[in-house]
Amino acid sequence: MSLYPSFARPNSLAQASELLAGLSGGSVIIAGGQEIMPHINHGAMQPDIYIDIGGLKELRGISEADGVVSIGALTVHRELQGNAIVAEKLPMLADAASRAGGGRQVHNRATLGGNLVAMHPLYDIAPALLALGAEVELVKAGETRRTSLAALMHETSHGLGSEAILVRVLVPAMAAGTGWAYEKLKLSGGAYGSANAAATVQLDAGRITAATLTIGAVADRIIDAAAAVQGLIGQAWTAAAAEQLELRCPALVKQPLSDQQGSGEWRQAMAGVVARRAMAAAVARAGQK
């Protein structure tokens, strides 16, 4: 064993998966490097083996078939913001990707896969994808598996980043007329939000027929606020409905984060505020083309 780390750049998914299986967990996958390089630069992370997945074509490209948009894990934020399919079928994802911090330089290199695998509670893309009901395709030891992003975020042994590869993200195209909004409440000009919310809504004759809502950056996991929106179904979006929603959300935040982004108590309250703002903006947008 050398003292220096090793490096490999497999050129197919099959090869990468076989390689990772043979290394049994001792390696670190690198895509854009935006997440792991700070740790490497400061010596906090010293992997023995890097597996560069930048050469895997299976992880690239954006396409749509049968109402599902398939996005390669290597797609960078910049492409999510500018891609025509994403703009038309998943505008909320394009918007959430544009709200990430770090500037254009980061948007040019940060991948969708790396953002999701980081599973960072303050990040912007997962709340939007969860509200859109996204699924993911993973490969581990030669086996392909598809699961919902929501389920993946609760798995403890998915092995992503060392044994398993996130290949694609599959998102149902938003139905025509769906209202949507991504709200990011920021304390300062810094990158991260103190409370984020993603909402989608469908209206019929002024009444809400379906809605999804997720809340991020307030707890160590992104919160599915389905329970809070349940009461809105069949109702019109009135001041009273908005207030109800705002009051219901804080209770969903069992253990609020308390960090540079704000104190726990405040974050809990802001969960309700961003939820209300996101839903209000989604309602305002519903039915428009």
Binding site: P5, F7, G33, Q105
Partner: protein
């Protein structure tokens, strides 16, 4: 054997500011270290090494990136432009550099490589940027002198000059 894929250094070929280089990239090494230490191009500055300050910005295959966050070995072939490559063929400053000079866009100069490259990418896409577009365009760069107003002025001046001559 799959293990054959594992190497201890990667021979990368880059065209940097128009000149071809072949260098040994050790796993883990950043593009920043490769540019500064192996190529001796110290105009690209090392700041925070966490991706927040933007002083290490270079252009990689036509798009700006933070070189401290980019691992050299992951770039087997690349076209790179650093601040040393911005001047015009006759040695004079390009219009964005000139505007920064005229509008006091350089104070201590530490953030300059990142500010210039970010401004150039912004202006390539938005020849007449709004204030909001300039803010977003420069959002990946910090100026410790807090000279943001002169930076915004410089970008506007560069935009006007470039529209005039194009």
């Amino acid at each position: 054997m799959m293990d054959d894929l594992l190497v201890q250094s990667v021979l990368v070929q880059w065209r940097v500011n128009g000149k071809l280089h072949e260098i040994e990239a050790m796993p883990g090494m950043s593009l920043l270290d490769a540019v500064r230490e192996q190529l001796g191009l110290t105009g690209t500055h090392m700041g925070c090494q966490t991706g927040h300050c933007g002083a290490c910005t270079v252009m990689l295959d036509g798009r700006i990136v933070k070189s401290c966050l980019t691992q050299a070995a992951t770039l087997p072939r690349a076209e790179i432009v650093t601040i040393e490559g911005l001047k015009r063929a006759d040695g004079t400053l390009n219009p964005v550099q000139q505007a920064f000079w005229d509008e006091a866009g350089f104070q201590c100069g530490y953030c300059a490589p990142g500010m210039l490259l970010s401004a150039m990418e912004l202006l390539a896409e938005h020849p007449d940027p709004t204030d909001a577009q300039i803010d977003t365009g420069l959002a990946g760069n910090l100026c410790r002198c807090t000279g943001y107003r002169s930076l915004v002025r410089a970008v506007k001046a560069a935009a006007a000059k470039m529209r005039e001559t194009s």
